[in-house]
């Protein structure tokens, strides 16, 4: 890998790490979900820094070059991340259903109690207050 490409790739990793860190700081991402992103950023930076060792490992595994390895890695990471998010969205939808139902049931219960209170007050001659 030529030096300028290496520098560009390292800057991209650093930029991603800064963006993720900033999103965590602003509480837009929870720490637990940022670990995977930061982990991938650090791993990518290490692989780029030691590109000769990385290339040797890629060739041992039957790979061709660094570019195809990073494309493949990026694709795998995207699929894993999407699957992970789909699982989380499904779980959130399940919890949302329960909360919606319970909110609706509680409101109905409160309305019922309010009607009963009005009736009791009306029956005792005090009238609703």
């Amino acid at each position: 890998m030529i030096l300028s490409t290496k520098l560009l790739a390292l800057i991209a990793c650093l930029a991603l790490a800064v963006v993720v860190f900033e999103l965590v700081r602003k509480k837009r991402i929870r720490e637990e979900y940022s670990i995977l992103w930061l982990g991938v950023t650090v791993a990518s930076a290490v692989l780029i820094l030691f590109d000769r060792v990385t290339l040797r490992l890629i060739k041992l595994a039957g790979g061709v070059n660094l570019a195809s390895f990073f494309f493949f890695g990026g694709l795998v990471f995207s699929v894993v991340m999407l699957l992970n998010l789909t699982v989380r969205i499904s779980e959130i939808k399940r919890k949302q259903n329960v909360l919606l139902q319970e909110a609706g049931l509680m409101r109905e219960h409160i309305e019922r109690l309010e009607r009963e209170m009005v009736q009791i007050r009306g029956g005792s001659g005090k009238g609703p207050q």
Binding site: L100, G104, R112
Partner: protein, 237 residues
Amino acid sequence: MHHPRVLVVIPAFNEEGNIPHVLEEIRSLSNPPDAVVVDDGSTDGTADAARRAGVPVISLPVNGGMFCAVQAGFRYAYRHGYDIAIQVDADGQHDPSGIPALIAPILERGVDVVIGSRYLGKVEYKMPMARSVGTKVFGRLTSAFVGQSITDTTCGFRAYGRAAIRLFATETSFEFRDAVGLVVLHRGGFTLCEVPVTVHPRRSGRSSINAFLTIIYPLHYLLALAVELLRKPVRKG
């Protein structure tokens, strides 16, 4: 079963124009059951129209979808100790005069779930061909899996006994919808039967079923069926 407590669950989304008629028809039955309207985050006056008619309303803060609304009604039925819960659509298509026939198999033979069938009864409107063909194909497929003839797997006009109410009210990990819901019930040891029902055209408003859903539905059905067959069956009781 002596003096069974029967509840009609009416999920409603933007049905302000239809809900008063549906409640009026239920009230006009010779032995009217209790009713609860589940307002699924409507943006019109559905909830107020139902309250004015004097029935309890479960108002969901935002739209949660059909199953979410129906399940809220079943939770209500379960917590208030109802013996039978009947799902009736809020668009006025399900004829409440069919309720006695719908609950009869539960009372007389202890059946767990009674399905209203438009194909054994009467459909007073023209169903789109794609939907009609799809329903019949799903009927055949579902019949093969439940070991008995089911002619109408998508009609929501159904009655559920106590065990089914409990299952629907407490199980949150998956949705008991339409045809796959029947397979889930059968595998769990619940007994099913069909009775003829009459279905009217909508009084007002438009159906939420569009062309996209008509295409997606068969794929969803096949996937849900395949997944269900690989799951451990739910247990009755």
